[in-house]
């Protein structure tokens, strides 16, 4: 069940057409490209979900609360009056929490991205060196051995230069 096929294309519209066809047949597809094809893929398959925003929102809220509480608690832990101002001075708290909102927002976004997109996997991944430079790949997952020929034919039909079979035990 884990077998997959990697078709290598030179043109993006060919690739998208092949991908659409495979997806309609019910296969899991992954498009590998050296440049972002976000708009083109959205155009073909519709918008996909963006879970990073939850991390960002969580980070920003955490940052704001952290900044506010941090500025308040640390100033009352060791009371040192200065300049006839209250120990809990509001304007600096606003400023500090502003900065921590941004800081934790950024860090949580990065964390979310790493978790969602780059989560380390110790299995070797299907790849081709050209996919980092100038060709576009269509990876079709979950192909039964007897269907290899069909899928390869579809890819060739749509203009794939090369089709690699990846069999897994």
């Amino acid at each position: 069940m884990d077998n997959s096929l990697l078709g290598i294309f030179q043109y993006v519209d060919d690739l998208l057409a092949a991908a659409e066809k495979c997806k309609k047949s019910g296969y899991g597809i992954t498009i590998i490209s050296p440049v972002p094809l976000v708009h083109e893929i959205e155009h073909t398959f519709g918008e996909s979900k963006n879970p990073v925003k939850y991390f960002t929102g969580l980070g920003a809220i955490t940052g704001y609360l952290f900044g506010t509480l941090f500025a308040i608690t640390t100033s009352i832990l060791y009371v040192l009056p200065r300049s006839g101002r209250p120990i809990i001075a509001i304007p600096p708290i606003l400023l500090i929490s502003y900065e921590t909102t941004i800081l934790l927002g950024v860090l949580f976004t990065l964390m979310g991205f790493i978790v969602l997109a780059l989560a380390p996997s110790f299995k070797a991944k299907e790849y081709d060196v050209g996919l980092a430079i100038d060709s576009f790949g269509l990876l079709v997952d979950g192909v039964r051995e007897n269907k290899f020929g069909d899928i390869e034919k579809v890819m060739r039909e749509y203009g794939a230069n090369e089709v690699k079979r990846i069999e897994k035990k």
Binding site: D13, S33, P36, V52, L95, I102, V106, F113
Partner: protein, 442 residues
């Protein structure tokens, strides 16, 4: 952007900047590193050993050239952030080829910013006391202090800039890791975190970049206004001005854009292959920014002087007299106006934008002019505070001249090392600029 360039060519050109290294590069790098050590690190060691007494600082003028350079480098850092964050959000096409270089400048400029904080301190070995952390002294930082604002603002700024720079580099590093050899391969593979370029990864990368852009853009405004509050939150005439936040931010962007122009021009001369990617089109766009910022800056400079003049308090008048009417400073003020307000206007002539004069001479003058702006604010205002008995002039010593010059050499040498390790032009963004290959042309 030349659309006839192929993807392969772009990849090879840009990785060529990293790998093709001639003897000239090593000669210049050695010269810069030696200069950095002898102008920056040795005098600094001398200053740490003998104390701040080796500087020309004195009782009213406690903030001198080090603080000037601190603000100056924060300013230089700003253009990189603006180009990479704001222009990303608006999806401006001309940012793609120059954003990475500008971000790199931000990164190293912020490095120098922290360096100048340490250089400026009386007891730099205790610098970490300004950061909030649980300690055996049970004392935290004073949140009403503008210096603590600085610690938070610049800390956030540095962290976000590093994240943004390296985050944007992940696809490029993954791409390079396939062709590189030796330690480079190991480094790129480790730093690319297993990036393959799948549709999901690209999608999330674009979204995350948008969030970074949205978070970092307010920092462009907040960081330099926080730096300006080091001055504006005091009572000193010449410091306590409400116009300082926008004035500093505009000045920062002006100097930053001039810095980006100069950096690009030097890089293009050093690596002629860059001329393919950074073209007259980019100069057109960046110089327009310089003209606009220069006009805003001129207006705010006028306001800074005029508001002081109209307030007409004796302190303000003394401060303005010292700044505008006394021999060395009046000439410096005139030079500042000439190089920041007059010279950049020449960019409205299209021919000039792409001439040697427009690419090298005007940016250098703007950079000098912006340095003078900070110089005319920081030590000069302190020379004429409230009680005339304590009025005293400030004349920097050789240590204070040497350390900023050495810091510039240090900046250049770090930058030179960086371009040999990481791609200075974003490969995937350049490819995006070239256009996505389609069999049927639209």
């Amino acid at each position: 952007m030349d659309r006839t360039i192929t993807y392969k060519e772009a990849s090879e050109d840009i990785s060529g900047i990293i790998t093709k290294t001639g003897w000239k590069y090593y000669a210049v790098l050695t010269l810069m590193a030696v200069s950095a050590v002898s102008f920056l690190f040795l005098p600094w060691a001398y200053q740490i050993y003998s104390g701040q007494g080796v500087t020309g600082l004195n009782a009213p003028v406690f903030w001198g050239l080090y603080l000037v350079n601190f603000i100056y480098w924060v300013g230089i850092a700003h253009a990189g952030t603006l180009i990479s964050a704001m222009l990303y959000i608006t999806q401006t096409p001309w940012r793609r080829a120059i954003a990475r270089g500008a971000e790199t400048m931000t990164f190293f400029a912020l490095f120098l910013v922290s360096l100048f904080i340490f250089v400026h301190m009386g007891r730099p070995w205790n610098f970490y006391w300004t950061m909030p952390y649980p300690n055996q002294r049970q004392i935290w930082t004073n949140f009403t202090s503008p210096i603590t604002f600085d610690v938070f603002a610049i800390g956030t700024y540095t962290t976000s800039s590093i994240v943004f720079l390296f985050f944007g580099m992940i696809p490029d590093l993954a791409s390079l890791s396939h062709t590189a050899t030796g330690w480079r391969k190991r480094l790129y593979t480790a730093l690319s975190f297993g990036w393959r370029g799948t549709d999901r990864q690209w999608h999330l990368q674009a979204k995350a970049c948008m969030f970074f852009g949205a978070f970092i853009m307010p920092l462009v405004v907040s960081v330099h206004s926080v730096v300006s509050w080091d001055f504006a939150l005091s009572v000193v005439p010449g410091y306590a001005k409400t116009v300082f936040a926008p004035y500093f931010v505009t000045g920062a962007l002006l100097s930053g854009f001039a810095g980006v122009l100069l950096m690009l021009s030097i890089m293009r001369e050093a690596y002629p292959v860059m001329k393919k990617y950074v073209t007259a089109y980019h100069y057109d766009k960046v110089t327009i920014f310089v003209v606009v910022l220069s006009l805003i800056w001129s207006y705010l400079t006028l306001m800074e002087v005029v508001t002081g003049l109209y307030a007409n308090t004796s302190q303000e008048i003394e401060h303005l007299k010292y700044k505008l009417a006394i021999s060395p400073f009046s000439y410096l003020f005139a030079l500042m106006i000439f190089s920041n307000s007059v010279l950049p206007l020449l960019y409205i002539f299209k021919k000039l934008r792409n001439s040697f004069f427009g690419r090298f001479i005007i940016p250098v003058f703007v950079l000098i002019g912006m340095w003078l702006e900070r110089f005319l604010i920081v030590p000069n205002s302190l020379s004429r505070k409230f009680l005339p008995w304590m009025w005293h002039d400030y004349s920097p010593t050789w240590v204070e001249y040497s350390i900023p010059i050495g810091a510039l050499f240090f900046f250049i040498s770090m930058f030179m090392v960086f371009i040999k390790v990481f791609p200075i032009i974003a490969i995937f963004e350049v490819k995006e600029d070239i256009g996505i290959p389609m069999r049927k042309s639209h």
